[in-house]
C-alpha cells in the first residue's frame, strides 16, 4: 500500500491565528456592550465605521500587494485592530475621524511595513494617536455616562447618527452642551487650577474609584482580560508589567502627597489603563516574545503612561506609551534572549 508523505512533525498545530483573534473579539464584546449602555449608540456607530474602513483598506492593500485577499481578511487581525481603535474613540465622533484613523493604521502602519506580523507599531494605537493630534476638538465627544443622578443632555439614536455622519447635531444641540470632560481631563484641569483632589472629586463624573461609568466599563475589560489569560491567548507578563509600572509610580507619588495626587485606584480605573494592559500592549506583533522582555515592555508602558498623564500635555498616555515602547522591542528582545540549553550565558 502507498501513503502520502510529509516532513515531520506529522501533527499540525491545533491553534490558529484566526482562532486567537476570535477569542480576543469575544473577550472584548461584554465591555463594548457596557460601554454602549453608559455612553449610547455612538459606540456601535464607531465600530461599524472602523470595521468597514479597516477591512476595505486591508482589501485594497492586499490587492495592491498582490496577496490573497479573502484568505488574509479572514485572519481577523484587521477586525481586532478596528475594534480596539473604535473602542478607544469618544462615543460621539464624526465618521471621517474614525475612517481616517483606520485607513492610516491599516494602510500605512500595517501594510506599508509588510502586513500581518511585520508592523513595528500597534496599528490601533498609531491610528488613535493620528486622530488625537489631527482632530483635537473632535476627540472630546464623551457624553456624561448614563448613571441617572447626573444633569446632562443625552442625544438619541437619530441625533447621534446625524452627528456621526455630518458632524452636526439637529436643532439647538451642540457638542459643548453634551460632552463632559472625562475624569482624567477633570483631574488635569483641577490640579492645574491649584485645587486639591478632594475638591476635584466633588464633580459627579467621579465614581467610587475612577470615573463613574468608566469604572464599570473597566471592570468588564478586566474580566475579558482575565478570560484571555485563562484561555492562554495572552501571558501574564505584559499586563502585570503595565499595571505594576503604573500603580508603582502612582502609589509612590500619591504617598508623597495624597492631597494633589490622584490615587493608584483612580489611575487604574480611569481611562484606558486596563484596556491597554490586557488588550493593546499584549498585541503579539509589536511586543517582545521573551518572558523577561514582556515584563520590561509592560513596565515601560505603565510608567510612561503615568508620566504622560501627570506631566505631559495629554490626559491619557496609554497610546503614546505603547508606541514609544514599540520602538524599543528589538532592543529589549536582544537584551532578554534566553540562555540556550547547554550554553553559558
Amino acid at each position: 500500500m502507498r501513503f502520502a508523505t510529509a516532513q515531520p512533525p506529522q501533527w499540525p498545530s491545533p491553534s490558529s491565528v484566526s482562532g486567537m483573534m476570535r477569542i480576543v473579539i469575544l473577550a472584548l464584546l461584554p465591555a463594548i456592550m457596557v460601554s454602549a449602555w453608559f455612553y449610547g449608540p455612538g459606540v456601535f456607530f464607531n465600530i461599524i465605521i472602523a470595521v468597514i474602513a479597516a477591512l476595505g483598506t486591508e482589501a485594497i492593500a492586499l490587492r495592491l500587494r498582490q496577496k490573497p485577499v479573502t484568505a488574509t481578511l479572514g485572519d481577523g487581525s484587521a477586525l481586532v485592530a478596528a475594534l480596539l481603535f473604535a473602542f478607544s474613540l469618544p462615543p460621539l465622533c464624526p465618521w471621517w475621524v474614525t475612517a481616517s484613523g483606520m485607513v492610516f493604521a491599516i494602510g500605512l502602519v500595517k501594510h506599508a511595513y509588510g502586513g500581518l506580523g511585520y508592523n513595528l507599531f500597534n496599528p490601533a494605537m498609531a491610528g488613535y494617536v493620528l486622530v488625537l493630534v489631527s482632530f483635537p476638538d473632535l476627540m472630546t465627544g464623551w457624553p456624561a455616562p448614563d448613571i441617572g443622578d447626573l444633569d446632562y443632555q443625552r442625544p438619541g439614536i437619530g441625533a447621534t447618527l446625524q452627528y456621526c455622519l455630518t458632524g452636526q447635531f439637529p436643532d439647538a444641540l451642540t457638542l459643548d452642551a453634551i460632552a463632559r470632560a472625562t475624569t482624567l481631563d477633570s483631574v488635569r484641569a483641577g490640579l492645574g487650577a491649584m485645587r486639591t483632589m478632594d475638591e476635584i472629586r466633588m464633580n459627579p463624573v467621579f465614581g467610587d474609584f475612577g470615573g463613574a461609568g468608566w469604572e464599570w466599563v473597566n471592570n468588564f475589560v478586566a474580566m475579558g482580560g482575565g478570560a484571555l489569560l485563562l484561555l492562554g491567548i495572552i501571558r501574564w507578563h505584559i499586563p502585570a508589567g503595565v499595571l505594576g509600572g503604573l500603580l508603582g509610580m502612582a502609589s509612590f507619588v500619591w504617598l508623597l502627597d495624597p492631597e494633589i495626587s490622584p490615587s493608584p485606584a483612580f489611575h487604574l480605573f480611569s481611562g484606558g489603563a486596563i484596556l491597554g494592559a490586557f488588550f493593546i500592549a499584549t498585541d503579539p506583533v509589536s511586543s517582545p516574545t521573551t518572558a523577561r522582555g514582556r515584563l520590561i515592555h509592560g513596565a515601560g508602558i505603565g510608567m510612561l503612561t503615568y508620566i504622560i498623564r501627570t506631566w505631559g500635555s495629554y490626559a491619557d498616555g496609554i497610546a503614546f506609551a505603547v508606541l514609544l515602547m514599540n520602538m524599543t522591542v528589538p532592543l529589549i528582545e536582544r537584551w532578554t534572549r534566553p540562555r540556550i540549553y547547554g550554553r553559558s550565558a
Binding site: 501533527w11 499540525p12 498545530s13 487581525s77 501571558r235 516574545t289
Partner: protein, 500 residues
C-alpha cells in the same frame, strides 16, 4: 521521604514543552503480542552515527536464529544477528525508512523449523563480572540504543568517565507510543536486572529509572521489581507528561537539574543515559543468552484494526506488523514510523523495521488534523515558550530564510533537537522544524566550505612563504660569473630572432 526507592519525588516542572493528546491507551488494552517469525526479514547493516557492520555470511547459507551475520567494520560499530532461523536470500542494497539512499541489508527467508544458535552462555551472575568484560559482551550481543539512536551501547558505555550516574529512560513522551510503558508493565524485572548489569559495566553509584506521571501501572510494576531486587543503588524518578520530557537532554535537565554542555555528550557531566528497552535487551542477553533480535513495537492509530504492542523480529516489514495487528481498518491516509512529532511518514509499507522502530502509526484522514495554509509569523512567542532548548524559533526562521549562517550559529541552531514542539505551538502553521533541518545543512555546508577555504588559504600562504624564502636565499649565494655566463648563453637561443 516515605519511599527510599523514589528519588527526586518532585522533579522540576519545565516551562518548555507542549501538551498533545496522548492516545496511548489505544494500544495498551491487550498484552504484548509475541510475534511468530515472519516469512522474511530484511536486516539493515547500518546503525546510528555512521556506524555499520560487515556481513560474515554468504547467500544461500543456512542460519540459526540469533547467529551472528555481520561483524563491526571498526571498533565501536555494531554486531548484527539473524533475527529468524532460515537461509540467506540476498545481501544487497534495500530501501529503509529515514534514508534517501538504499542501504546494505541481509535478507533472510524463514526455514520450516525455528532453530536457535547456542553460542552465547547464560550468565545469571553477570553483574559480578569485571566491567570491561560486561562491555565486551554487550558489544558482542549487538545491543544498540533502542530509544532511536541505534548507537552501539557498548561504545556509549566505554565513553563513561569515573563514577558516573546511569539514567534509564522510560519516559516515552510522544503520543501513541506505549512500547516502553508496556515493557515496564510486563517485564519490569528485566529492566531492573539490565539496569544492574549496565551499572556494573560502568561502575555507576546510582541508577535512576525515569518514567512519566501518566504511567501508574508501569510505576507499580517497577516498584515491585525494585523491591524484589533490593538494590539500594536503584531509584525511580517520575517526570512530567509534557512533550518532549523524554528527550535525553531534557530528561537529564528534569531529573538531575543539570544541562549537557552544547556540543558535548551526557558522559561529559558524568551521566550515561540508556533506554529501558536497551536495559531489557542487556538482561535478555546475559540471563537467556539471546542477542538483540527483536524489540517491542507499538502498532496503532485509527487506521489499524486492533492496535497493540508487538514483540517483533528486527527486519520484519511494516506490512507484516500491520497484519499481526489485524490489518488496516478503513482507509488510512498516512503511515508513520515513530511518533506523530518526530516520526517519518512512509511512502509504502514494504520497508523493514530496525532496532530503533518504536512505533508504527496508520492515521486515518483527519486523525491528526489538517494543516491550514501557512501565515506570516505574528511573533506570539508560543514557540519560544515551547522550545526545550530555549531557542527563539521565530528568529531562527528568518535566519534560515535569509541564509544567514553566522546568525544561525549565534542563535544556536545546533542545539535544536528537532522535536517539533515549535511547529505544534505555531498558530501560523509555519513548518519550523523542516526549516531548521534545512538550516543545519546550510550551516554544515558553510562550515565545510569555510574549512576548505582556510586549508586553501594556508596552502597558498605556505607557497608564498616558500617562494619568498627561495627568492631571499638566491642573492645570498650569487652564482659565480662563469656560471652566470653559461646560464645567459643557454637563455639566448630561446629569445625569438628578429627578422630583419
Amino acid at each position: 521521604m516515605s519511599d527510599p526507592v523514589v528519588w527526586n519525588a518532585q522533579p522540576r516542572r519545565p516551562a518548555w514543552g507542549v501538551r498533545t493528546p496522548r492516545r496511548k491507551t489505544l494500544a495498551t488494552q491487550a498484552p504484548i503480542l509475541r510475534a511468530p517469525p515472519p516469512a522474511r526479514v530484511t536486516i539493515p547493516l547500518v546503525g546510528g552515527a555512521g556506524t555499520s557492520a560487515q556481513p560474515v555470511v554468504v547467500p544461500g547459507q543456512s542460519l540459526h536464529c540469533g547467529q551472528p551475520v555481520a561483524t563491526p567494520t571498526a571498533a565501536g560499530h555494531p554486531c548484527i544477528h539473524a533475527s529468524i532461523a532460515g537461509r540467506v536470500k540476498d545481501i544487497g542494497l534495500y530501501p529503509v525508512a529515514g534514508s534517501a539512499q538504499p542501504v546494505p541489508c541481509i535478507v533472510i527467508e524463514r526455514s520450516e523449523r525455528e532453530t536457535f544458535w547456542d553460542g552465547y552462555p547464560v550468565q545469571p551472575e553477570a553483574s559480578s563480572l569485571p566491567a570491561a568484560e560486561i562491555r565486551r559482551q554487550i558489544a558482542a550481543a549487538g545491543i544498540v540504543g533502542l530509544g532511536g539512536a541505534l548507537f552501539p551501547t557498548a561504545a556509549k558505555l566505554d565513553s563513561a568517565g569515573q563514577a558516573p550516574l546511569l539514567l534509564l529512560n522510560g519516559a516515552e513522551c510522544e503520543a501513541y507510543i506505549s512500547c516502553d510503558d508496556m515493557l515496564l508493565r510486563e517485564h519490569a524485572e528485566r529492566v531492573v536486572a539490565g539496569g544492574r548489569i549496565l551499572s556494573a559495566a560502568i561502575g555507576a553509584e546510582l541508577c535512576v529509572i525515569a518514567i512519566k506521571t501518566d504511567m501508574p501501572e508501569a510505576r507499580r510494576a517497577l516498584l515491585d521489581a525494585m523491591e524484589a531486587a533490593a538494590d539500594p543503588r536503584m531509584v525511580i524518578s517520575t517526570v512530567t507528561a509534557k512533550y518532549p520530557a523524554g528527550g535525553e537532554r531534557q530528561l537529564i535537565e528534569l531529573v538531575f537539574g543539570r544541562e549537557v554542555p552544547a556540543g558535548g555528550r551526557p558522559a561529559d557531566i558524568g551521566i550515561i543515559c540508556q533506554n529501558v528497552g536497551t536495559a531489557a535487551a542487556v538482561a535478555d542477553f546475559f540471563l537467556d543468552g539471546r542477542p538483540l533480535i527483536s524489540r517491542i513495537v507499538t502498532v496503532t492509530g485509527g487506521g489499524i484494526a486492533t492496535p497493540c504492542n508487538i514483540e517483533a523480529r528486527i527486519g520484519t516489514s511494516v506490512a507484516d506488523l500491520v497484519q499481526l495487528a489485524g490489518g488496516y481498518a478503513g482507509a488510512p491516509e498516512r503511515l508513520i514510523m515513530g511518533g506523530p512529532m518526530m516520526g517519518i511518514a512512509l511512502a509504502d509499507d514494504e520497508l523493514p523495521i530496525s532496532a530503533a522502530t518504536n512505533c508504527v502509526i496508520a492515521a486515518t484522514a483527519g486523525e491528526l488534523g489538517e494543516a491550514p495554509a501557512e501565515l506570516p509569523c505574528i511573533r506570539c512567542g508560543l514557540c519560544v515558550e515551547a522550545c526545550p532548548a530555549a531557542l527563539m524559533p521565530q528568529e531562527l526562521l528568518t535566519a534560515v530564510r535569509d541564509e544567514n549562517t553566522a546568525r544561525l550559529e549565534s542563535l544556536g541552531i545546533s542545539e535544536c533537537i528537532e522535536c517539533g514542539a515549535c511547529d505544534y505551538s505555531c498558530p501560523s502553521h509555519i513548518p519550523l522544524t523542516a526549516q531548521f533541518h534545512a538550516g543545519k545543512r546550510l550551516l554544515a555546508n558553510a562550515q565545510l566550505s569555510r574549512r576548505q577555504a582556510s586549508i586553501a588559504r594556508a596552502r597558498f600562504e605556505a607557497r608564498n612563504r616558500r617562494l619568498a624564502d627561495e627568492n631571499r636565499a638566491q642573492p645570498e649565494n650569487p652564482p659565480d660569473a662563469d656560471a652566470l655566463q653559461t646560464l645567459l648563453a643557454r637563455t639566448r637561443p630561446r629569445t625569438p630572432e628578429r627578422p630583419d
